[in-house]
Symmetry: C2
Subunit: 378 residues, 2 copies
């Protein structure tokens, strides 16, 4: 008898042998995703300020939404009643939900970690809640994303060896409980999250135990949490190549152009981050010639587009001067235009990254891009 | 020799003799406007939260922008450098700019009225400025709207007879100075503003003097400023029919459905108000069955559209439950969807009003609408 097919599968199209960069496709119940891909974040069932149509116009292939936030508001049962997250927010392409782990641990004083799970107080009203692996699976099944993440603990980059080890081992036990609790495997695939902080032997142990659990996809958690770029690259390049070749590889919480390129070079397929929409709200644009703070007085009388090389709605229609004015005047349209631009920049960057992988040229592209963008090379 | 044609002209298509309601067209350098019309307000060179394309989708024919705000930020000279307001904000249909009179007088303690003009302090940084009729004409010419308004004083509805008289006479003298100062008559038409508060003999005097100045269009100012509906209707019905029949008639600051219908019945062609976008930001929708506060808990699990009878983008795609969630979570998309809906409601209401006038039936429609919307009839 043939083995049951997972809801989400990975197809490798091309591998650059010299770097390990992968060009592939992730098949999901809501369509295919060309990888490597950047996933815009829609924390509260909306990618901040944008409509689904606008996300499609900039070729967003998949979005991420947050379990912790949706569980608290509007409530995962309400989303289920609405026919799931896709229907609730009218997004018919793939969705990934995180497990709430990162959010819950970010609550600091408001949470308490036990073997059973994590007790926490809502940041909205102080009400008490308990997230266990089983509870998180129930919530993520109610939300109905294509890819759901196992409940994990993300430790600080300053955590001790001993704490990181205990936490990583607990995360593995939670992953096992998640796998057992996850029922809706025909429509959703559960990914495991490799932890282990900045200790390579702990990363190895986490990899070994999680790979043994045979998840349909894997994420690397616990990096891009405040460490130096050198430390980030060290763990990324150590861990990513050890993930299974036949499954999607997801690096959590990465969205700056240099980190996205480095992730692809290390063989990562998926990344997500709030960065492009967050800096948009502060009046900042990513461009092919570096970051530009459109909010600054420099741009007050600048009647050129945000980025001459860009084809997004904002760049085709408006000037830096107009967007500068909108941001200064706290007008929503300013945030919208910069959000469209920044997300378009990252989806276009990843399109370019995919082409460069196909040509076995991503490493050279990285060097050229670093020069143009003003990044310092290693 | 033929008299020089004004930039903006009015064509009467049909008049309902029993009410005085008018169905017409206003011709402008940026295209025709079917009247009666509601004008969305784009205070700071943007109709809050929306793009020009979205405004066109809901069939906004003309927008209003505010001289006071644009003069202070980004500055009318900057807008001129950008090629005028149409080019700056990428709106190629007609624009009307107010004169800043209403805003300046709303500053209260921050302004001082003299014969020469009004001294005021900026609400942004406290800097000192002087608006004279000549200065306002210069600013409005720099902004480049199709219809520009004369600099006037809008008095409170509680103002004494003596003060209202003095103020109205000064407004007339300012109107004369505006007319003399306005140079760009081929591309812009200057409208006079009838004042006189709630004193009919003062309204008569204002009408007489301003009509003698032969402006290409007229507005009624100084009503819809906090008086009762009875007082509003009394002055509206007294003043509107005395305005020239061959020129556009504009009632300033009116945007609630009942006031819009009453204005049309009294023979008004144009109205504007921030109401539809302001209440959108508070989570409130106008519907064919009355006002609905979508922010209220009633709508938390309501999976129907805002208004079953509406064909706007928000109603075609989203539920009350989703919009309720977005508003509670302070997400921009919630404001966008309600703004689209409310503006679409008013443009559709005015389309209906135009049809009812053509059928000499606006009076009956008013009665039916009042019943459905939950308004109390006189």
């Amino acid at each position: 008898m043939k083995e049951k097919k997972h809801a989400v599968t990975y197809e490798l199209l091309h591998e650059d042998k010299s770097t390990g960069a992968r060009r592939g496709v992730i098949h999901t119940p809501h369509g295919d995703i060309q990888t490597p891909v950047f996933m815009p974040v829609g924390t509260q069932a909306t990618v901040k300020s944008l409509t689904p149509e606008e996300l499609k116009e900039i070729n967003a292939q998949i979005i991420l939404s947050n379990t912790y936030h949706l569980y608290l508001r509007p409530g995962s049962k309400l989303v289920k009643e609405a026919g799931g997250l896709h229907n609730f927010m009218k997004w018919d392409r793939p969705i990934l939900t995180d497990s709430g782990g990162f959010q819950v641990f970010s609550l600091g004083e408001l949470r308490k970690i036990k073997e059973e799970g994590v007790e926490f107080k809502s940041h909205l009203d102080g009400s008490k809640h308990l997230f266990t692996p089983e509870k998180v699976m129930e919530i993520e099944e109610d939300l109905g994303a294509d890819i759901i993440m196992a409940f994990d603990e993300c430790v600080e980059h300053t955590a001790t060896y001993e704490y990181t080890k205990q936490s990583m081992e607990r995360t593995t036990r939670w992953a096992e409980r998640c796998k057992k609790a996850h029922k809706n495997i025909d429509e959703q695939s559960l990914f495991g999250i490799v932890q282990g902080g900045f200790y390579k032997d702990l990363r190895d142990k986490s990899l070994e135990d999680l790979i043994a659990l045979d998840f349909p996809g894997y994420a690397i958690g616990g990096i891009s949490v405040g460490e130096t770029k050198e430390e980030f690259l060290d763990i990324l390049r150590y861990t990513a190549p050890k993930l299974p070749k036949n499954k999607p590889r997801y690096l959590m919480g990465v969205g700056s152009p240099d980190y996205l390129i480095e992730a692809a070079l290390a063989g990562i397929d998926m990344c997500d981050c709030v960065l492009p929409t967050r800096i948009a709200r502060n009046g900042t644009a990513m461009t092919w010639s570096g970051k530009k703070v459109i909010r600054n007085a420099t741009y007050e009388r600048d009647f050129s587009p945000i980025d001459e090389e860009c084809d997004c709605y904002a760049c085709k229609n408006y000037t830096r001067a107009y967007i500068h004015h909108l941001i200064k005047a706290k007008e929503i349209l300013g945030v919208r235009l910069l959000s469209i631009h920044n997300l378009n920049f990252l989806t276009k960057l990843m399109e370019r990254v995919r082409i460069e992988i196909e040509n076995d040229n991503l490493s050279n592209f990285r060097d050229e891009f670093y020069d143009k963008y003003g990044y310092t090379k290693e």
